[in-house]
């Protein structure tokens, strides 16, 4: 994994503070192009989710989301992760200028992997605490944790790097008092990250509701409804966040004052 930029190192995400009046129009266009980029990136993510449904059927026999659910989970996780990597890493020409040594990159990559695993395990623990079976269906539960990590942790890792403080800052109301308390220190990428992450969680949460119903559908089996709910939530978040940011672009102030 190549240099993973935090917001303050990536130029295209960050508006350099300067005299407010002169750059106003420039900022707006910047915003618009940013939103456009965001939209395309999100379309790619959605596309990857759709691909994960379509492609495996070519080389896996009897592939369907419900019957070979675990396979699909693996594919989906793989596809979304790779698209995320491609999106956030490849077209970065001059990402981390200072410390681009190989060892540094390797440690970062390893750190990211560790973070990902830790998030998977902690999600697993949370599911069990929420009532998932402890001894049965362990693989299913774990894969659910993996897919939820894919939807939430991987974008965070890509965008913010293995930097817990930055995560906490993004996921709090006022940027967590860490910096200037009055400023909302976020970029639209972080904003969209908030939205997709929260909607993935909410989707997974709502996915748990049909399980007790006595409809006896195949998708009511643990954890299918939850994984599907999480996927729907993720996709919905991907769709909503550019729109939401577009509608609220006047109110949003990104790192400019």
């Amino acid at each position: 994994m190549k240099a993973i930029m935090t917001t303050h190192v990536h130029p295209s995400f960050t508006l350099v503070p300067s005299a407010p009046n002169s750059v106003d129009s420039h900022k707006n266009t910047m915003k618009d192009t940013d939103i456009k980029t965001l939209l395309y990136a999100h379309f790619l993510c959605i596309f990857s989710v759709i691909l994960s449904v379509l492609i495996p059927s070519f080389f896996v026999e009897d592939f369907s989301i419900l019957d070979t659910h675990l396979t699909w989970l693996c594919f989906c996780s793989l596809f979304v992760t790779s698209i995320n990597l491609v999106l956030y890493l490849v077209p970065k020409p001059n990402s981390s200028s200072k410390r681009s040594s190989l060892s540094h990159k390797v440690t970062r990559f390893l750190k990211c992997c560790v973070y990902f695993l830790v998030s998977c395990f902690s999600f697993h623990v949370i599911f069990v605490l929420y009532g998932a079976p402890l001894f049965e269906l362990v693989l299913e539960t774990f894969l659910f944790a993996v897919i939820l990590s894919t939807f939430t942790t991987v974008p965070c890792l890509c965008l913010l790097g293995p930097n817990l403080k930055a995560w906490l800052r993004v996921f709090s109301k006022n940027g967590g008092h860490l910096r200037n308390q009055k400023t909302r220190v976020t970029s639209i990428w972080e904003n969209s990250l908030q939205i997709t992450t929260i909607s993935s969680f909410v989707g997974a949460w709502f996915g748990a509701f049909p399980i007790p119903l006595d409809w006896e559908r195949p998708w009511q089996v643990w954890p299918i409804s939850c994984t599907v709910g999480a996927t729907f939530g993720y996709v919905a978040g991907l769709v909503i966040s550019p729109l939401w940011i577009y509608w609220n672009r006047k109110q949003l102030t990104y790192k400019n004052n």
Partner: protein, 1145 residues
């Protein structure tokens, strides 16, 4: 000890240096009282006592207001219940063969003949084929297409061709009826009706809740006592209803509704061999395929056609094997809706098919073109008399007279006479039943009963005259028959009126009352925060209105001379008292006040609450509530944690907390640490999950396995495991005890000489010891050597009673002297700035300094000492008060522990682990919630909605994790025998109390502990740094003694603002009542909207009953808890007064 104190004091100056500038505390009335005591001012004391009186008055008003709200809910519940839950008393009288139901001749002098009771038998054998949910139109012959309409082809039509053929070929042998079924149209109730001839309701009072066995007189019982062999095959519901009644039986599980064939194929395997073997007198085959097909596919599915064709084949096969002395009955127990469900009272559900056939001629005339409609219960007296049995005692069916129109002689009127005599016999039996029933209860309308009685005596007299007169005119015969039939139908009608009809008006009225009470709670909890709570308009005027409404209604009743109905009276009073409030709401709504102020619940909590309420409307979710509640609780907890993070509080500590002294890392979690909240949340989730391991499965989910830990230890075989478990249970007891003691010691100490504290010190271990000993005896009772049997038996009676007695003593002591404060007065050390910190044990950390007495009492002490120094020549007197800062919650916790022990005793041993978890869980939750709430020094105090919701959720979760389910078979009946191993004799209230205490233990504990939600944040004030400080008033205030500013006031803040305290208690009570009230409202609405749902009697109605009783228990517990807090408050006040007076002297 002293040394430790001084050692701590040495650090104080450092602290002082660290927080320069003294702060001024609000002294409130306390300070005033001290001044009043100190200097002169009788005027001040006088004012104080009036304010005290006002505060006391306000307390009474708060309690009265809560009582009134509770009464509103009770009235609503009672009204709804009276319309929804139809009740009937089960009589256990039996008809006896040798005893005719009334005076008069039995037809044809049948007593002498063998095998004949009230009549000679017409058939010696009966084959009863019960096809579940055989709707009438399933069996209806297809009309010939004469009318010209195109034939409608539905899958279920005309599939029973053999019935049609028999009707056409042998019109005198066969007859098809449309049998009119009484709701509830559920199989168990129908089977009861088909054997007892009565109208079973959901609650047949007097029936044994633990099993479904029919206690009333019934056909099967009569067959057994007549020595007939009854062979049964099919639905295993019969096994529960008639245990051991069949000479041979093949039961098949009726549980899986999706399985169409297992039961039917099982029956078919045995049906013909059994029939050919001839070892039977009555053969009953109960097929389930049609019903299951309806549930799975609905009637309009090709599968239904297949199933009905299969049934047709069965009937054909039976008819071929039928002998002359055998009657074939094909009956459906109920119908089904267009969706294939049943349970309600729609036309399709209540029309079932009934088909009779015999190979000898049975009917005098050909069948009418349109099949006759008869009540379903008519089959019971008919079958009884045809088989020569007495009619079951409680039967209210009318015999099908045309089956008895065979006379012994050839006289022309003999057939009519035979019918009249059968009807008379039937009428005598029904009349006897009505007598017996109306003597037992007052359900039936007296006036109507009287009219019927007159009708019966007239018909009976006419009949007697007819028998004696030699010339029997056809016309008089017909009048007698008509009169008898009128009587029978009238009798049935009044029974239906009181047993089988929902009263929609009452249900709607009850639900409206509940909704209005909820609204009242919601709005009043908003108003309660204001100082001037409108008690007068909200309490006095309603009472006046209620009285007016009651008087009006009573007057109306006496004017119209109707029977006084207490339920309706209560509802009218409640409605009347609500009127002014509703008027006010209407006014404010019209003046368009923003609705946002009326809906104060925060969004996420509202969503959770809404989801919780929505789950009451789905039977699956009611069944799965044991899993859904922890899920919602967990969501709420995580929401709280995440919200704190979102607000940015989680990041604060590292940057904003004032770094404490060097050892700050050792002081335990500071109050606002994010990791602390996170840890609390995870701990809570863990506890919830662990408690979920003690889970009893509802019977609706066969795949689920109940926890093996719910059974008592005595049932364990493995001795070693038993010992280990026993050790774990005793460990849980000890842990609970130690935790409570540690807690009490932490917040004050256990050194007060007051009796409750002594009780906590000595009585609690004694109770634990008694409980442990009782468990040891009970779990090993069988292994006791015979010599010790008597001793063991005696001990197992005495021990539980002793524990309960101890607990009651403890509670009494607590009520008598709730202020557990240690006042220390004695010659202290030579005058220094000695501060006695209420602290014991080795001082491990700096944080211990935070637990010192509220500074105000030290201030008092200083004052006293100052005065004493002036007046007395001896050494200075030191007065210190311990535990004042936690005086309320200490009383609460002590009371809860005392309550928990007897409740623990009623459960199986291993549930004690759940009780430990319960205490731990509520402790963690209280801490988590306390971290949320800012302490506003002078008030108003509020308890946030999420706290109340989480508390209520936790009560429900604990209900499930103590092994309960809201269904009657899951009640822990063994609780009635704790302390009463021999049973209770004839008393019913004591076992009911014990079982109720077992079932609603969690409701009670959480409701009583509810005030802790208000108290805990103040208690937590002593921990961690206080962020919110009063701004420095002025430099002149700095003269307040420097070390005092570090003393947390804790719960004395509440006392400082008695008005706010009372308002907060009121608000807390109202909020909790609201959360519980909307639950019961949702249950009531679900039960009434889904009253035709398949699961209404199995899921929704029991759930409603459990919720209703749970609500009543909770509300009483809540009132007790609040009253306890008020009692403590009153005691604290009088304690202060006494102290001040003592100093004045």
């Amino acid at each position: 000890m002293r040394y430790a104190l001084y050692k701590n004091l040495a650090v104080l100056p450092f602290l002082r240096n660290f927080h320069p500038g003294a702060r001024r505390w609000r002294w409130g009335s306390l300070r005033r009282s001290i001044r009043a005591g100190n200097s002169m001012v009788p005027g001040l004391t006088g004012r104080r006592s009036t304010s005290g009186r006002r505060s006391r008055m306000q307390k009474v008003l708060v309690l009265l207001f809560l009582v009134w709200v509770c009464l509103l809910f009770y009235a609503g519940i009672a009204l709804f219940t009276s319309g929804f839950l139809l009740t009937r008393l089960e009589l256990t009288n039996y008809s006896i063969c040798q005893e005719p139901p009334g005076p008069g001749f039995l037809p044809w002098g049948s007593q002498g003949k063998p095998g004949a009771c009230w009549m000679t038998s017409r058939f010696s054998r009966v084959v009863l084929v019960l096809i579940d949910a055989l709707r009438f139109d399933f069996a209806q012959p297809q009309q010939s297409h004469t009318s010209g309409d195109p034939p409608v082809s539905l899958p279920f039509m005309g599939k029973l061709g053999s019935l049609q053929r028999l009707l056409e070929i042998q019109p005198h042998h066969a007859r098809l009826y449309r049998s009119q079924v009484d709701p509830p149209t559920t199989t168990m109730q129908r089977l009861k009706a088909l054997t007892t001839g009565s109208l079973p309701t959901f609650i047949d009072a007097g029936s044994n809740f633990a099993s479904h066995a029919i206690l009333e007189d019934n056909l099967i019982k009569q067959l057994n006592s007549a020595g007939r062999r009854v062979v049964f095959m099919g639905d295993d519901t019969w096994k529960d209803l008639f245990p051991g009644a069949f000479s041979k039986a093949f039961f098949f599980s009726s549980f899986n509704v999706k399985d169409l064939h297992t039961v039917d194929n099982g029956i078919l395997e045995h049906l013909y061999p059994t029939m050919d073997s001839g070892e039977w007198d009555v053969l009953i085959a109960h097929f389930l395929g049609v019903d299951h097909c309806g549930h799975k596919h609905g009637p309009h599915h090709p599968e239904m056609a297949k199933k009905l064709s299969q049934m047709d084949q069965v009937i054909r096969g039976l008819v071929e094997r039928l002998e002359n002395d055998t009657l074939l009955v094909v009956a459906g127990d109920h119908g089904m809706t267009v969706n294939g469900d049943h349970g309600g009272d729609s036309d399709l559900e209540v029309s079932a098919a009934l088909f009779l056939y015999s190979s000898t001629p049975l009917f005098p005339s050909a069948p009418p073109k349109d099949p006759e409609t008869i009540p379903q219960v008519s089959l019971v007296p008919t079958l009884a008399l045809l088989l020569g049995l007495p009619i079951p005692f409680g039967n209210i069916g009318e015999v099908m007279a045309e089956l008895f129109s065979w006379g012994e002689d050839s006289r022309p009127d003999s057939s009519a006479l035979a019918q009249a005599s059968v009807l008379h016999l039937n009428a005598q039996q029904v009349s006897r039943f009505l007598h017996a029933y109306s003597a037992a209860t007052q359900d039936l309308q007296v006036k109507e009963l009287h009219r019927l009685q007159n009708l019966f005596s007239k018909a009976s007299a006419d009949y007697q005259r007819l028998l004696q007169s030699p010339h029997r005119a056809e016309a008089t015969l017909q009048t007698v028959i008509t009169e008898l039939q009128q009587f029978l139908r009238g009798a049935r009608a009044i029974c239906i009126e009181s047993w089988a009809r929902f009263s929609l008006v009452r249900m709607a009225g009850g639900a409206t009352l509940l909704a209005a009470a909820c609204l009242l709670c919601l709005l009043a909890s908003q108003w309660a925060t204001f100082l001037a709570f409108p008690f007068r308009p909200l309490l006095l005027i309603p009472v006046a209105w209620a009285l007016a409404g009651t008087i009006l209604y009573a007057g109306l009743l006496t004017a119209t001379r109707l029977k006084l109905d207490l339920v309706v009276l209560g509802a009218v009073a409640a409605g009347g008292s609500l009127l002014p409030f509703l008027w006010k709401v209407w006014g404010s709504w019209r003046s368009k006040k923003p609705l946002a102020t009326m809906l104060p619940i925060p969004g996420p909590v509202l969503l959770l609450l809404f989801i919780r309420l929505a789950t009451f409307f789905s039977d699956s979710f009611v069944v799965a509530e044991a899993r859904a509640t922890p899920f919602l609780l967990g969501s709420l907890i995580l929401l709280l944690v995440v919200q704190r993070h979102w607000e940015g509080e989680l990041l604060v500590p590292k940057l904003l907390t004032i770094p404490r002294l060097g050892s700050s890392t050792l002081t335990g979690p500071p109050r606002h640490s994010g990791a602390y909240a996170l840890r609390l949340g995870v701990g809570l989730l863990l506890c919830t999950r662990l408690a979920g391991l003690f889970h009893r499965c509802p019977e609706e989910t066969p795949a689920c396995h109940s926890s093996p830990w719910l059974s008592p230890l005595a049932s364990m075989v493995d001795g070693r495991a038993k010992n280990l478990w026993y050790g774990a249970c005793v460990g849980a007891l000890v842990a609970l005890l130690v935790a409570v003691r540690l807690w009490l010691r932490h917040y004050g100490n256990l050194k007060s000489p007051e009796p409750p504290v002594l009780f906590v010190r000595w009585g609690l271990p004694l109770m634990a010891l008694g409980t442990a000993a009782y468990w040891a005896l009970v779990s090993g009772a069988d292994e006791a050597p015979p010599r010790l049997r008597a001793l063991v038996a005696g001990a197992s009676v005495v021990l539980p009673r002793a524990v309960v007695g101890l607990a009651a003593t403890g509670l009494m002591l607590l009520l008598w002297k709730p202020v557990t404060v240690l006042v220390k007065a004695g010659t202290g050390a030579p005058r220094t700035r000695t501060v006695l910190t209420p602290f014991s044990g080795p001082p491990t950390s700096q944080a211990d300094l935070d637990y010192v007495v509220p500074q105000i009492y030290r201030h008092m002490q200083e004052e006293f000492r100052g005065r004493l120094e002036r007046t007395k020549s001896q050494g200075p007197l030191t007065v210190a008060a311990y535990r004042l800062g936690s005086v309320y919650s200490a009383a609460m916790v002590t009371a809860l522990t005392l309550l928990a022990f007897p409740l623990l005793l009623l459960h199986a041993e291993r549930i004690s682990l759940v009780f430990l978890l319960l205490f731990l869980q509520s402790f963690l939750l209280l801490h988590l919630l306390a971290a949320e709430i800012p302490i506003t020094a002078p008030g108003p105090f509020t308890v946030p909605w999420q706290a109340v919701s989480a508390w209520a959720l936790m009560a429900t979760q604990t209900f499930y994790s103590t092994g309960h389910q809201p269904v009657f078979p899951a009640i822990h009946w063994h609780a009635a025998f704790v302390g009463f191993p021999e049973g209770h004799g004839s008393s019913t209230w004591l076992p009911a109390l014990l079982v109720g205490a077992n079932t609603f233990a969690s409701h009670l504990l959480f409701a009583v502990g509810c005030p802790l939600l208000l108290l805990w944040p103040f208690l937590c004030e002593s921990q961690g740094p206080r962020k919110r400080r009063q701004p420095l008033r002025s430099e002149t205030e700095a003269r307040v003694r420097p070390e005092e500013e570090e003393e947390p006031l804790m719960e004395m803040r509440l006392r400082d603002a008695p008005h706010h305290f009372n308002a907060a208690l009121l608000q807390l009570g109202l909020k909790y009542l609201f959360v519980l009230g909307v639950q019961i409202l949702a249950c009531a609405l679900a039960a009434s909207i889904l009253r035709r749902h398949l699961m209404v009697w199995k899921v929704f109605a029991p759930k409603f009953i459990f919720e209703a009783i749970g609500f009543i228990v909770s509300s009483v517990g809540l009132l007790l808890g609040i009253a306890l807090v008020m009692r403590v408050d009153g005691a604290v006040s009088s304690w202060f007064e006494k102290l001040v007076l003592a100093q004045q002297r």
